[in-house]
């Protein structure tokens, strides 16, 4: 069974500083990996996804993530954080196609606070 670990529950950064959110996964085959963002009181929005190919993927809002198979990691980065980036971030791995469906397994999330 697949699993995802986000070791940082809370992170605080200053506006304009760089950001890295950590994500480690466990999955037996080639993983399909995702990062989602959730603003307060809202649903989840997809930031980026990795399926294959280039291990550095670009997403929306200036985010990027790097897949490192040797470290089982898929860390999210942004070179300069804006106050509007304050939100909760979820890493997810796609599981198998049981019953013809598809489902994501999520990490427990990292709450990002941005100091002005």
């Amino acid at each position: 069974a697949q699993s995802v670990t986000q070791p940082d529950i809370h992170i605080t950064v200053s506006e304009g500083a760089s950001l890295e959110l950590r994500c480690n996964y466990s999955y037996g085959a080639t993983p399909y990996l995702f990062w989602y963002v959730q603003s307060p009181g809202q649903g989840l929005q997809l930031l980026l996804k990795y399926f294959s190919g280039d291990t550095l993927v670009q997403g929306i809002k200036g985010f990027e993530a790097e897949f490192k198979r040797s470290q089982s990691s898929f860390n999210l980065r942004k070179p300069s954080v804006h106050w509007s980036d304050a939100a909760e971030y979820f890493c997810a791995v796609r599981g198998g196609l049981t019953g013809g469906g598809n489902k994501l397994t999520f990490g427990t999330g990292t709450q990002l606070k941005v100091e002005l």
Binding site: Q6, I9, Y32, Y36, G41, Q42, G43, L44, Q45, L46, K49, F51, F90, R94, L97, T98, G99, G100, G101, N102, K103, L104, T105, F106, G107, T108, G109
Partner: protein, 111 residues
Amino acid sequence: DVKVTQSSRYLVKRTGEKVFLECVQDMDHENMFWYRQDPGLGLRLIYFSYDVKMKEKGDIPEGYSVSREKKERFSLILESASTNQTSMYLCASSFDANTIYFGEGSWLTVV
């Protein structure tokens, strides 16, 4: 734009009540999902459906059931609500394995 609509954003129910959470998607997606979100636990899959009248248990199905009579609608049912089911419930839909779209969530409080 894909739209996943959860009709009830905030509900307060009493212990023992039967609760229906409704979800509608407008993109003809085969796959629909119900997740529960709790602080420190992330999102956990309750049930999913890959076709009309088809359903599969997720990771935490106990105390819940679902109904999918039409392709666009996926309902989550709490047969007898309990206080430990106080949570945020997120519905989602997808066409393939690559992109899943989420609704804005339904906050349920059971008193």
